[in-house]
């Protein structure tokens, strides 16, 4: 960016303004220092350390506003909703705002991550402050010009007006404003005065998407770029032994065949390894070609021999291992209230159930891919990634290059769901480019993407409840999981705090299959298990399912527990809203309803699924979804995300299965792996609780509860309790693909 010499800093603030040599004003702000994940809003801006900036607003001489949005876009609409916050306080017409994806500043950043539904929650206060500060500076500049006091001036829709009714456009005063002191105290709008926030703004890339313009990683091209396809071990536990590339090399478009992996082995010897480096240490064969098709054909023509380096695992063993773990007594206790043992010993009745879920691949619609150009001067990396900063740091030590040499550019992402938190594909692209000294685009085929992924771990929950004198007296949840276990605040979600005797234990089995975050990690299945179980408890107690929940929450309200991570009142409110909007209990004959409620990612959600039966097959007709996520910044985007989460949740609970046999995934494309399609999709009816508090996550929280809503509805229709996902496999039906 072409800057002139004058710059105005504010030490206590997180803003810097500069006059642009090309005319206009640039406001830089350090969004992500302000938005560390452990900082709870409201953020005390005065405590921020002013260092460097990673987000910018440019106001041109014509008064047009360009916002460089720093957050990766993965379909959460962040690229739209974050700039909306700035534009709201800056007070410009949304139509005059242009949004561009910012480049990663590899020196200073902390939360340039799209994940965990947190982007908006953390950005809420600082983004508004930024817009408001810029507006105040423009007003101050106009006041100086008029020789009046700034308090006599107001600004609206890009125009400043003084008490005499004279006006100046933002563009008229940007040059002067850039030279002024940055004001320390600005007043933010009251939510009721919002004109942009809370009004649906369409996706900023909409015109490009509907006309097919290059936007995604797969679309990125550079002069002289070649394509690479990588042959990876077919089974987890295997490594490359040898290969014959003669057939591949005979393909006219194939340029070269190389082996990669040595650098990964070196990297793994280092002490400091990035958590994003979920990458197999096996050598791999990379086929370099003139076109994608030549590269894919070449990759398929490689004859490779593989050797077993660690045991080849199968779903059958996993099931046995996890059941053995649940039967055993090696657990880590994550939370223990009261005395669960005693409650169970004194119980009149104990209910115990086990819930099971398979591995799941992410299956982003855009398969993993990345562009890399490693040269003497710099390492240029372009593509879809959810963790640009961690990846930049990892690649710098991977290639032994200074961090300043690494330049990461983010493209729009064809889905993330957690998969693009990991940067295995960036390592591969970088190693290839480093070896062949050419700009290269590494592209995974769907088969490679699905069968050499990072998966939602297969998990089993065993939950037990003790009942005494017709009351629920104890609750004991055990988790057995492949590799990871639930973490952080999850054990403090409901029903923590609602029961005197409550315990959460976890245990796991270390597998060589790579696992990691998948949309709403852990809760994506935990909510299904617990909310199905609550249906059974209510039935055993002979009480109304919804009232049972309301009463438990009432108890939490009466006996506040500082050690819980949800708000009982907000949960009650979403329950009431879902009950009202779904006409709970008042549906016509032949429609069966299931209820579920859950809190995660700081958002409270209640859902009711309506199903009908057709030829013995449950059809999810409708899901009513009530959400409390604070202020809804972009209702249009919020609606899309909420609906997407619900349908995604229904789809994976009903249909998606992913098994291993001898280390080999048993599905690798959409003919053997079922994703939900239009004909299986319920209508989703979304309602938001109106609440004027800082917004919370929305990309994830509507997904976890819906599996239980569906299972509970199917129970009403069929009398069959579904405790193992995908449900379709357990309904004695033929598996339906496609």
């Amino acid at each position: 960016m072409n800057l002139s010499k004058q710059q105005t800093f504010s030490r206590r603030s997180f803003l810097k303004t500069s006059a642009l040599a090309s005319g206009g004003m640039l406001i830089s702000f350090n969004l992500f220092t302000a938005c560390k994940s452990d900082v709870k809003p409201p953020i005390d801006i005065s405590q921020l350390n002013f260092n460097d900036f990673n987000a910018f607003i440019k106001i041109s001489d014509e008064g047009k506003v360009t916002i460089f949005s720093p957050n990766p876009e993965i379909g959460q609409g962040v690229k739209t909703s974050m700039p909306m916050l700035i534009a709201e306080e800056l007070d410009v017409a949304w139509e005059d705002v242009y949004v561009e994806q910012g480049k990663l500043d590899t020196k200073n950043y902390t939360r340039q991550v799209a994940g965990g539904s947190q982007s908006i929650r953390h950005g809420w206060e600082p983004l508004r402050q930024t817009g408001a500060t810029a507006k105040q500076m423009l007003i101050n500049a106009a006041a100086v010009k008029w020789g009046v006091d700034a308090s006599e001036c107001t600004a609206k829709l890009g125009v400043i007006t003084n008490s005499k009714g004279e006006t100046l456009g933002y563009g008229d005063v940007v040059k002067d404003a850039a030279l002024l002191e940055v004001p320390e105290d600005v007043t933010l709008k009251h939510p009721k005065d919002f004109t942009i926030v809370g009004n649906g703004a369409g996706n900023v890339d909409i015109d490009k998407i509907i006309t097919g313009k290059p936007l995604f990683g797969l679309d990125y091209k550079e002069e002289g770029m070649v394509y690479a396809s990588v042959l990876r071990p077919p089974a987890f536990g295997q490594e490359l032994e040898s290969f014959d590339d003669s057939k591949a090399k005979a393909i006219p478009g194939v340029i070269d065949v190389i082996t990669i992996g040595e650098k990964v082995k070196d990297y793994y010897k280092q002490d400091e390894k990035s958590w994003t480096a979920q990458i197999s240490a096996s050598n791999k064969v990379a086929v370099i070609a003139k076109t994608t098709w030549d590269a894919i054909k070449g990759m398929k023509a490689i004859k490779a021999a593989w050797k077993n380096e660690s045991p080849l695992e199968s779903t059958e063993n996993h099931d046995k291992i996890l059941f053995d773990l649940l039967d055993g007594d090696v657990f880590k206790t994550r939370r223990s209230d009261g005395n669960v043992k005693k409650a169970f010993a004194q119980a009149d009745k104990i209910i115990e159930r086990t819930y099971e879920a398979p591995f799941l691949p992410h299956n982003c619609m855009e398969p993993m891919n990345f562009f890399a150009n490693v040269t003497k001067d710099k390492v240029h990396l372009v593509g879809p990634i959810q963790t640009p900063e961690a990846t930049a740091i990892a690649i710098s030590s991977f290639l032994g290059r200074a961090i300043e040499d690494i330049q990461v550019e983010m493209t729009r992402m064809g889905g993330g769901f957690g998969r693009r938190l990991y940067s295995d594909f960036v390592f591969e692209a970088a190693e290839i480019s480093n070896a062949i000294k050419k700009p290269v685009k590494m592209i995974s085929t769907r088969e490679n993407d699905m069968s050499t992924g990072v998966y939602r771990p297969s998990t089993k929950y065993r939950i037990a409840a003790s009942i005494k004198d017709g009351k629920l007296t104890g609750y004991h949840l055990k988790e057995a999981c492949i590799n990871g276990n639930m973490y952080g605040l999850i054990p403090h979600f409901f029903p923590a705090g609602a029961l005197e005797n409550y315990q959460v234990d976890t245990t796991h089995y270390k597998s060589n299959i790579t696992t990691g975050a998948w949309r709403a990690p852990f809760t994506n299945f935990l909510a299904s298990a617990e909310q199905s179980f609550f249906d059974e408890i209510a039935e055993a107690l002979g009480v109304d399912r919804v009232q049972f929940h309301m009463d438990l929450l009432e108890k939490v309200k009466q006996n506040p527990n500082p050690n819980i991570d949800y708000n009982p009142e907000r949960l009650q409110d979403v329950i009431k809203l879902a009950v009202e909007k779904s006409h709970w209990g008042k549906t016509k004959a032949g429609t069966y309803q299931g209820f579920s409620v859950y809190y995660c990612h700081n958002t409270h959600v209640a859902e009711v699924a309506d199903i009908t039966m057709k030829n013995g097959l449950p059809i999810v007709e409708k899901v009513t979804c009530a959400i409390d996520c604070g202020i809804v910044v972009n209702p249009l985007g919020a609606l899309n995300q909420a609906k997407g989460g619900v349908i995604d949740g229904v789809g994976h609970a009903m249909y998606s299965d992913f098994a291993f046999n001898q280390g080999v995934p048993q599905s690798n494309n959409f003919n053997t792996y079922q994703l939900i399609r239009m004909g299986q999709t319920p209508q989703v009816d979304v309602h938001f609780v109106k609440r004027d508090v800082a917004p919370t996550g929305l990309g994830e929280p509507t997904l976890p509860p819906v599996g239980a809503a569906v299972a509970n509805a199917i129970y009403k229709a069929t009398g069959k309790r579904l405790r193992k996902q995908p449900y379709i496999n357990n309904l004695n039906l033929e598996k339906v693909i496609g």
Binding site: I74, F216, E366, M678
Partner: protein, 153 residues
């Protein structure tokens, strides 16, 4: 390698490729029309849908050798500047989430509405069943096809 003459979006293109190369990759890598997307390569997801002589076709399954002489339309050629009723409906409803599947969805929907400009909801659901949207924007797609049909008829 052979030479093929293609007619895409009313323009003639001559490309060198192996006869088995799917139209998808010729469009993307050689003609720079990257709006047509790769999702599965086996005809299961619909991300690569184009119009061939007016019919929706999976470009990942169409070898270049068979595409000669056919009238091919991609998302880039569907309208002058994004003003096809289906594109307009997509914008009005704000359908896309990540957006990756959407050019395929639009191409499927526009070919379908050409044959049936006044479809019922269940006809819409059947017609769109072959196109996967991993972001699950299905409710909006369904609505947008309906809106587009009203614009057309």
């Amino acid at each position: 390698m052979s030479t093929f003459n293609l007619k895409i979006n009313n323009k003639k293109h001559t490309v060198e490729a192996d006869a088995d190369t799917p139209l998808l990759w010729v469009l993307r890598d050689q003609i720079d029309l990257v709006g047509t997307k790769y999702g599965c390569g086996i005809g299961q997801c619909g991300a690569c849908t184009v119009h061939v002589d007016g019919n929706a076709m999976r470009s990942c399954l169409l070898p270049i050798s068979q595409a000669e002489g056919m009238r091919i339309t991609t998302i880039e050629g569907l309208s002058e500047d994004g003003n096809h009723p289906v594109q307009q409906a997509w914008k009005e409803i704000d359908v896309p989430q990540c957006g990756y599947c959407q050019s395929g969805q639009i191409m499927t929907a526009s070919a379908f509405l050409n044959q049936n400009s006044n479809p019922s909801n269940s006809e819409i659901r059947d017609a769109m069943h072959g196109n996967i949207c991993r972001c699950a924007s299905y409710n909006s797609i369904e609505k947008a096809v309906k809106v587009a049909s009203e614009k057309i008829s």
